[in-house]
């Protein structure tokens, strides 16, 4: 498999170099809106992963069958189909998460990351690299969502609950609580409310840029 290092670099690029939030500055709306807790951040990230993976695979498969004249409607139909599927699946199997994410699941359809990857990557590359690209971008996105969600939950409610998606005892898929961490500070509700989201992402973006600059200085 001579392809392997290539695929891995496509995957890795999505996490740091092409990080959708900090570097490409795309998909900001859900990044801020649903990150009131670690759990919601993870849930949104997973829903996003499903849509991006599905649309990337299908758009890449159909790339030679897509007449340029109807390219956009076909992209939209494919993306919207996957969004609707995950929307109704969440509603049935993970109702608490469905309520928490609200209209931001259907809004994945206009998430600039998905249509951006379709246009810039999947419609030009074969299936395997497109999968690697989708996974890399998704992991990068999930990490950011969990980071922001975690920070806001910790400062806003004074505790953070780490969860993961797992098969629960009652045979259903759901969030399994791993650990809860309390910090001895007075919770600042403002962090849960909208302004907290802006301040968190602003500070993180400053840090990310600052570290990037320091690193490139050291290298140069």
């Amino acid at each position: 498999m001579t392809d392997r290092p290539n695929l891995f670099s496509e995957f890795a690029a999505g996490i740091i170099k092409n990080n959708p939030v900090f570097c490409l500055v795309l998909g900001i709306c859900p990044t801020l809106a649903v990150t009131t807790s670690f759990e919601n951040g993870l849930g949104m990230g997973l829903a996003f992963t499903f849509v991006l993976l599905g649309s990337n695979v299908f758009i890449s498969l159909l790339r030679n069958q897509t007449p340029p004249i109807v390219r956009l409607p076909i992209f939209i139909v494919i993306i919207a189909t996957f969004v609707t599927i995950i929307d109704i699946v969440l509603q049935a199997y993970l109702p608490p998460l469905y309520e928490a994410l609200g209209i931001f699941v259907p809004l994945i359809v206009v998430n600039c990351i998905v249509i951006g990857r379709a246009e810039a990557y999947a419609s030009k590359n074969s299936v395997l690299p497109s999968i690697a690209d989708a996974l890399g971008i998704s992991v990068g996105y999930i990490l950011v969502l969990m980071l922001i969600g975690g920070i806001r939950e910790l400062l806003g409610t004074g505790k953070i609950t780490f969860v993961m998606l797992w098969l629960l005892e009652n045979g259903q898929i759901g969030f399994l609580e791993l650990a809860t961490l309390h910090i001895p500070i007075e919770p600042a509700t403002i962090m849960i409310l909208p302004p907290g989201a802006f301040f968190t992402i602003g500070s993180l973006m400053f840090l990310f840029k600052f570290m990037g600059k320091k690193m490139s200085e050291r290298r140069g």
């Binding site: 500055v25 795309l26 900001i28 709306c29 859900p30 801020l32 809106a33 956009l72 409607p73 939209i76 139909v77 919207a80 189909t81 969004v83 609707t84 929307d87 109704i88 209209i103 259907p106 809004l107 359809v109 206009v110 998430n111 600039c112 249509i115 509700t189 403002i190 409310l193 909208p194 302004p195 989201a197 802006f198 301040f199 992402i201 602003g202 500070s203 973006m205 400053f206 840029k209």
Partner: protein, 198 residues
């Protein structure tokens, strides 16, 4: 089925769209264009006007589709896909008409139209209208007020960012600065317009 004529308080709807449920600062919808365009006052004005027009018209078009076609057929789950296709078709049509008949208007507004298809504010408005079961008039008013609220914040932020750049205050660089300005504005909206429940 929700009524055609308003059953809700229109003034309340207008105020909530512009202030208490501001699309940019409270619902976080349309932030991509906020980050990209508030560097410049001219493009902020252009984008705001285009968004207000499209959100209003999107409400006009999607309400009948939702309430006369999707709901009677039990196809509410197709709302996302229908709404996005209708909005995309509508935006293309408007762009086409404006470019052909109003070249001057096209130069100032038209260039922002393609950006609007992927602006979540528009899809957000129609999804919220469907979710809240507003009447026809109510949903149009809500659409327009959402656009106005979006415009208000765009102009405020463009003004502040412009002044900061003029004075040479750019310590945080582009996006970080934009987020901090948005955060401060959001703080004002949250506190003064009673989003925190009392």
């Amino acid at each position: 089925m929700p009524a055609l004529l308003p059953t809700e308080n229109l003034l309340e709807l207008l105020i909530s769209g512009v202030f208490t449920k501001n699309f940019l600062l409270i619902y976080f919808l349309g932030l991509c264009s906020f980050l990209g365009l508030t560097k410049d006052m001219g493009s902020s004005i252009g984008m705001s006007m285009a968004v207000t027009f499209v959100t209003g018209m999107a409400a006009v078009i999607t309400w009948p589709i939702f309430n006369f076609i999707l709901v009677p057929l039990g196809l509410e789950f197709l709302q996302t896909i229908c709404f996005i296709l209708v909005i995309a078709a509508f935006v293309q049509l408007v762009e086409f008409i404006i470019r052909k008949h109003q070249p001057a208007l096209y130069r100032s507004l038209g260039i922002y139209l393609p950006l609007i298809t992927t602006n979540c504010a528009v899809l957000g408005v129609v999804l919220l209208n469907a979710q809240q079961n507003y009447s026809y008039v109510g949903s149009i008013v809500y659409g327009i007020s959402a656009g106005l609220g979006y415009g208000l914040v765009m102009l405020l932020a463009a003004g502040i960012r412009g002044k900061l750049l003029q004075r040479g205050v750019d310590m945080f660089g582009g996006f970080t600065g934009a987020f901090l300005v948005a955060g401060l504005l959001s703080l004002i909206f949250v506190n003064y317009f009673g989003v925190i429940q009392f």
